[in-house]
Symmetry: C2
Subunit: 689 residues, 2 copies
């Protein structure tokens, strides 16, 4: 039989866990021998693993699957915890078993017995091993060469839901919240469980279930709504996912009736200790608190003359007895800046605020740092704070939600962007100190570390609004598990699981994904300058949308040039936050990479890029080409119609059509703006208004 | 005793009808002889007139007032309808009486009898005569020289409430609606009656009580809510004000369940006839319908391939049997314009749409035309549609609500602007055909004519948010009554009634009002270019806020120049909509007035104005000076503190403080924008960012 088959994702609800095939008649006979599972179920996560494996196998093979305590001589799949399962200890060599760490697993095929063994140090590892095997089988892959150990590179692999209890999702582009509506916790437990399953299947092990902007009603998740939260924790627990809450720093006042939220005040500390005790009484494996404080009008320790370390440590002490952590966001800057003031630089803010506090945080505090210094733009340099606090736990924050990258109306596969960030060499110890090695804890030896990302899902049937945006959620999880995976591998894996591997569909979707970031960047903000979007909702072009705002995001375009001088020699000094090699590279026009030029320098429109083009001609060229390429995405998709389920075809086609139109709007507004500013015509004489 | 005294307006609720004095001990003895009123009350408006006079006199004099059927030999005030009151027919000569028309009055003092006689042809005229007398007395004026006839110049003197039934007011800057809340008609009848009284006191005789954008619930004012509307009509009727409703053109579908709203469809026509019949059954003196159709997404006859005449005439036929009118707004333009398309000119739209329909409208249809071709900007030319349809009733629409003129946060006395519009010579018949003579019906001899204006009031205690914005409501009414009144006279009258005439307060407020329009214009949009405001809410500077929008409001600023070429020779041809004298004046750079230059022409920044300055230097100079003068408004007000009631002082001071700050923001953003565009420095080297 052919190993090429196709899936029909239909409404997209099953995402990459469809296990469905188009050739309904043919069964995948190659996997039939493995329809026997042996496992001694020890806890609920292991039960989940066995259930997932059993249901997955049945869907893939069309055979009934039996589950027993042993396989005997039969072919099949053996699951077990090392040291607790004699069968697994016999199947997997002790040396191999010894290399499996928390949440990791060994998976191997024995040609003699025709048995596949999955062994792990804990039941979470078994669950991940099961999903590993199912990924292979669902894509029609080879199981007979299986022989490997997988350990997660990052201990925390977290999702942040920006869901509000009124049912809205901040920066949500896929419907409303699946967690809440009408200021109550939603009772659609099946949907939430299906989400947990999606997350676990790509390796996520932590979730904060409410928006980091915690308003009055959400504050009460910690108290009145705790029984509901407990129920949600139980759902995620089945999938080895720990639950966290975003908290309101002013809770002791708003909920506790205290006159202060000063972290040095004994009553405040006591209030938090009691609050934590109650949460852990209800949810003994509760993850901890996620905190946005003194940021964008949220309350925090600054009100009381305290600093972030004071604020975070108070909370950390409260959860410490239970093994909880406090995740403290570093997205702190002056959001009431005077646009006239060119000396204040928002890009500097996180480093300036937090770097001096290195060593002051307790060991169960983790600083959560956005990948770039501004805010999830299509192109930014890496945040210089990452790695700059050797004595402090840090984790990186990405945004799967496409706030500034097309809001799931435009296709933008973000894994290549994240890969660039993770591979960025900080030079903080020496050459070869990439972000991924800081984030996984190896560079500084910090005990807590990992990834967080803002989710892109909502109540839409396909979870992510744009069907192709599912690849970002999947890719984030896979990358958090192993940052060495390439964007290409992840894309291929996702396409195989979602659309199958039939050509030319497979290659078409692959090309769409792999080109999408570049295309989106090319018709939107050029050369790292950022923003140029409509205020508030951030969708669509508006070159001066933030130019006179208090938000610190300016481009200073005038009739002569554009860009922000962030050099140390003549600008805001932001470059000096980097290790010397990077500082020198960004500081000099001779070495600053083109794609970040306007982030670091204010240059004339006639400045020549390394590419040989002038800045103005680069703007024109990329915008004409980008809009044209966006139009081609639709055209190639339309040619795939025959190979696709109509519903899947239509939902993507509609979005690509909107993208193609909207890209023209970006093209014309950006080009017109810069033409009217510079007065320099396009060398090719194309239409600018 | 001194005729100079001062009022203390406090919260501002009494507005210009305070009749209160600071010198509480002293009574205004000069008017004591007139505290006897003789009148035979014939209807409710006359009762209102007598009550107003009686209460006003008591408040002014501190004396009790007696009302009888005759005065006998006593001094006092005599009220009567000509032909119905023997006393008044004796007191006022028949020749004088004969010159009094509908709603007019004669008022005269008889030195022999010491009696003041107010005679009218109807009770509304008596009410206006009473308010005339009270204006004089409240300001301490001379009654002994009274001997005049007053007739309203315009038959319709209307207010449009843009109130929605959810309680919001579209473009409302003074709190919420006093007419509605929670999708019901409000029961605060006293407040509504107090508003009716304010309106009648300055001559208003018509009101449309709901927003011209009629949504689902407001459509039902015509049906379900008719009993409530009837109650409101009764309140306004006491003050001789006719009530109108804004209607939803799609009502036959939305309320009547018909499949169409086609004006040629017999069922649709019948639906409107029945709807009108029911309204007139409940409210026999109902004014008629106000209609915004085929405008900014509102339904209208275009949907059915019909034109505005078809649409308006159908409604006109329905109200005709009852003496009702249909007021049809001409604010019709393409609000989905492509900003790239420079040939479409929103300024042309009203003329292009309506001019060809001249003669097609029934004689109880009135076209309501905004004063300018765009939308109530701080500076626009006069709409060329006004007077261009000799066979069609027309009325002019002003906006008392300061949508584009500071939103009642900035002081902007609009009467001088309206005066310029009214005095504008259209040359439509010959030199000396001003707008005011078209609007009052004399030029073309149209039977229906007048003024409409969008109200600026809301639930704020002082009605208008900014206490000084009361002058605009008062001034509008006074001007509608008599467009020959000067802005200066009206300002003085309003100040005397509201703040008294004590110096230096009187002169200070007078200077603030009379300079306010010029000051506001100077720091906002220059030379008639318009807009440059934040989208949607329209408050505050945003130079490119509408530049790439579908709304048709562009300035086309580039690195070379700015402005819209609306000439016939090289531009959109808008100038050809004017009579030749005006066309020539606007067409030529040599004669186009500076203040409208950028409305009619796209010129280089280096273009020399008639003032001798370049455009760019004019922009810089006016913005620096304007912001400085805005700051001085606050400074002079602060010096008046001792002369003012603290509450009145504080509410104005707060607004002036905001204005002073906000003017700097305007100054800096506009100057910075044009400096960055042009690269031309300020000759005086002042700070631009």
């Amino acid at each position: 039989m052919s190993r090429y088959f196709e899936y029909r994702p239909g409404d997209g609800y099953e995402a990459w866990l469809q296990y469905r095939r188009t050739d309904q008649g043919t069964k995948l006979k190659q996997y039939a021998p493995y329809c026997h599972i042996a496992a001694v179920i020890q806890d609920e996560v292991m039960r989940t693993a066995v259930n997932e494996l059993s249901q997955g196998l049945e869907a893939i093979t069309g055979h009934l699957v039996d589950v027993a305590e042993t396989l005997g001589e039969s072919s099949g799949i053996l699951l077990g915890i090392f040291g607790a399962s004699q069968a697994i200890d016999e199947a997997i060599h002790a040396d191999v078993a010894g290399s499996v760490r928390t949440e990791g697993y060994a998976i191997q095929f024995d040609g003699r017995t025709e048995q596949i063994a999955i062994g792990a140090a804990d039941s979470a590892g078994l669950l991940y091993g099961v999903f590993h095997l199912l990924r292979i089988m669902a894509a029609g892959g080879d199981v007979k060469s299986l022989n490997r150990v997988e350990n997660p590179v990052n201990s925390l692999r977290m999702i942040n839901q920006w869901d509000n209890m009124d049912g809205s999702v901040e920066r949500g582009y896929a419907g409303s919240s699946i967690f809440y509506h009408d200021n109550r916790v939603a009772k659609e437990y099946q949907r939430i469980q299906d989400y947990a399953r999606l997350l676990a299947s790509c390796g996520i092990n932590a979730i904060a279930i409410n928006n980091v902007n915690v308003h009055r009603v959400e504050s009460r998740l910690l108290t009145d709504f705790l029984p509901d939260v407990t129920k949600l924790a139980a759902i995620f627990r089945q999938y080895a996912i720990k639950l966290y809450l975003s908290i309101n720093y002013a809770s002791p006042m708003e909920l506790g009736g205290l006159a202060t939220a000063d972290p040095q005040n004994p009553s405040v500390r006591e209030w938090w200790r009691e609050a934590a005790a109650k949460v852990y009484e209800a949810i003994p494996d509760f993850g901890g608190f996620l905190v946005k404080a003194d940021s964008e009008h949220r309350p925090g320790p600054f009100t009381y003359g305290r600093d972030h370390a004071d604020g975070a440590n108070m909370l950390a002490e409260a959860v410490k007895p239970y093994g909880g952590v406090v995740i403290w966001r570093c997205f702190v800057y002056n959001c009431k800046q005077d646009w006239r003031d060119r000396s204040t630089d928002r890009a500097r803010a996180a480093y300036d605020h937090f770097r001096p506090l290195d060593g002051r945080f307790l060991d169960n505090v983790i600083l959560q740092i956005k990948n770039g210094p501004i805010d999830f733009q299509v192109r930014e340099p890496v945040s210089p704070l990452i790695g700059a606090m050797p004595h402090t736990n840090q984790m990186i924050e990405f945004q799967i939600a496409q706030e500034y990258t097309g809001q799931q109306r435009h296709v933008c596969y973000l894994v290549p962007q994240w890969k660039e960030v993770l591979d960025f060499d900080t030079y903080l110890q020496e050459e070869g100190t990439p972000v991924k090695r800081i984030v996984d804890g190896t560079v500084h030896g910090n005990p807590c570390n990992g990834f967080a990302a803002v989710s892109n899902i909502g109540s839409d049937a396909n979870w992510t609004g744009h069907l192709l945006a599912q690849a970002n959620l999947f890719g984030y999880g896979r990358l958090a598990w192993n940052p060495e995976l390439s964007a290409e591998e992840i894309a291929k894996e996702w396409i195989r699981l979602t659309f199958g591997s039939r050509e030319p569909l497979f290659q078409t979707i692959y090309d769409i994904l792999m080109n999408s970031w570049e295309i989106y960047e090319s018709y939107t903000t050029p050369l790292g300058v950022g923003f140029m979007v409509n205020p508030d909702h951030h969708y669509g072009p508006n070159v001066e949308g933030y130019e006179y705002s208090p938000w610190g995001t300016y481009h200073y375009a005038d009739n002569h040039g554009v860009g922000v001088d962030r050099t140390t020699a003549t600008g805001t000094g932001y470059t000096s936050q980097y290790a010397d090699a990077n500082k020198q590279r960004y500081e000099s026009l001779a070495t600053c990479p083109d794609e970040l030029l306007l982030f670091f320098h204010h240059v004339p429109y006639t400045h020549k890029l390394h590419s040989g083009k002038t800045v103005i001609q680069h703007i024109y060229d990329t915008h004409f080409e980008g809009a044209e390429r966006a139009g081609q995405l639709l055209a190639v998709w339309e040619r795939m119609r025959e190979q696709l389920d109509e519903q899947a075809y239509r939902q993507v086609a509609d979005r690509l059509e909107e993208q193609a139109e909207h890209a023209k709007e970006w093209r014309d507004r950006i080009n017109t703006y810069f033409y009217r500013r510079s007065g320099i015509p396009d060398e090719q004489g194309r239409t600018i208004y």
